[in-house]
Symmetry: C2
Subunit: 313 residues, 2 copies
């Protein structure tokens, strides 16, 4: 059974959930929620559910929506902090409506997620609540590291585990748990999602370094300007902001600053090392899937993992 | 049975909940959560519970904590939007740690509330989720009205119903529902809380107009500078910001602007009308309590309502 029908239901529910009795909040929420995006997290919920033998799509769709809304809420708040102007190919909420309404739009989405989840079991609510806590903690660590000008590998992995992989894990766990999967399958899907999440974020950071804003649909270079990302692919723990400096002026000749901070490693080399690491993680993710019985959904999870490392936006 | 022991448990749980694996978030959350405040909402949860015959304080305390944390989260975010520097007698999170970490601190508190509530029933989760949605909607409406420079009585009541009374109602409903109260008692406590919430906010706005920052423990005049408050006590629906202008320069001689906008009504008169309206609402709140059997908790709810209109900070 394909998840396409469920994904369509996700889109519809996303927009209906965004409706508020306050027209401005409907407008801002729908602006960002209707802009599409990869819908990777809802897909993961739906595919984990199907791969674990789940049949009841009506009960899993709101979980996929809840995850996407909480993810989007954090993007709206990130864009305030980063002064981002472009997101999912559209003007950010903060650039169009100002940071005050962007802040309230993110808060609105947090509270709507909570409302969507209310009818579900304590177990499912705890899964999502704890992932959301980790997400906020990961964002905080990232900004602290950027400001401190120090982002070693260990801190980088701590950050991306919390800010990205934790929600991926929650997606898999929500889908598999509501499907009534045995513990072994849930564990396999958690492992898959954790490694996929790390790989996804490393590639995101690599694309931020190498990509252009138009293809990405968001501002390129911001992550690195904020000191994120490239520490994944450095082994010496040196200041990641060095690469941001290179990114900001991509055609600069090698100078003393660049040389001292990159420790002789060019951005191109860093990118290749990052891609290698992502491929390794995807390999682990694929291996985890072998604990599951063969199914169309398992095939799609495999394909999804491969897309994560080959995508260019 | 007095609620003092439970209130002590609320304080302890508040601080333990604020602990994060990210030290900065522990620091910012504890800074604002340990600053005290009136704890009106936790009191309301505990008193509604006791007045409805609830005995199990262990199960009601986390509900009181959840409500206080969500309330505090919105204060932290409000202070970003208002550029407030003083809250509960301390530096605001935004003034001490900057708006980026204040934003994340508020988000952290939203997600912690969600975690605390996860073990409770869908019914209780929906009560709090919907109040939280209304709270954010009320804040949004308020800022829109302020920017539009138009705050008529109807809009003012819509705003304070959503941003203040909705959470008061949720407090009463959470406490009474988990106590297993009959529907009639829950309805009476809801009515009590709704009218109390409106009265509380009107007095808050009156104090903002008349009070000084030191006694209030937060910046006085900000609410009015933002266009809030005094519309409660105007009958003509004219621009509330007029009074803010008076407040900002309290000793200005009557001038053409003031005359035209106040429509001949002095701030002192507006304050008295506001107080009268709050007393009327408190009268209604007290009348609702008569549907409940006599108890110490009911007496305390009566006293609480009277304190709301006589408080000076």
């Amino acid at each position: 059974m394909s998840i396409n029908t469920s994904l369509q239901a996700v889109e519809e529910l996303l927009l209906s959930v965004a409706r508020s009795s306050v027209p401005l909040l409907s407008e801002t929420s729908q602006h960002i929620l209707s802009a599409g995006g990869k819908r990777l997290r809802p897909r993961l919920v739906l595919l984990a559910h199907a791969a674990a033998g789940g049949q009841n799509t009506a009960e899993v769709v709101p979980l996929a929506v809840a995850v996407e809304i909480i993810h989007t809420a954090t993007l709206v708040h990130d864009d305030i902090n980063d002064h981002g102007t472009l997101r999912r190919g559209r003007a950010t909420v903060n650039s169009r409506w100002g940071s005050t309404f962007a802040l309230l739009t993110g808060d609105y989405m947090f509270t709507k997620t909570y409302e969507i989840m209310a009818p579900y079991s304590a177990e499912l609510n705890l899964i999502l609540a704890r992932a959301a806590i980790e997400l906020v903690e990961g964002e905080t660590l990232q900004i602290q590291a950027a400001r401190a000008g120090a982002l070693d590998r260990e801190t980088y992995y701590q950050i991306i585990s919390k800010k990205t992989a934790a929600l991926f894990v929650a997606c898999a766990e929500l889908g598999a748990t509501i499907a009534g999967a045995p513990g072994e399958w849930i564990a396999a899907l958690r492992d898959y999602a954790f490694n996929l999440g790390l790989a996804f974020q490393i590639i995101d950071d690599v694309l931020d370094l190498s990509g252009d804003s138009q293809a990405l649909g968001k501002n390129a270079g911001i992550d690195l300007a904020q000191g994120r990302g490239i520490a994944a692919v450095r082994d010496d723990g040196a200041d990641a902001r060095s690469v941001a400096a290179v990114q900001v002026t991509p055609d600069t000749a090698p100078g003393p600053l660049k040389e001292s901070l990159l420790s002789g490693q060019s951005p191109q080399v860093a990118i290749e090392i990052g891609r290698a690491k992502a491929h390794e993680l995807v390999g682990r993710a694929l291996a985890s899937l072998e604990a599951l019985p063969p199914s169309d959904a398992r095939d799609e999870l495999q394909a999804l993992a491969q897309q994560v490392v080959t995508r260019d936006h």
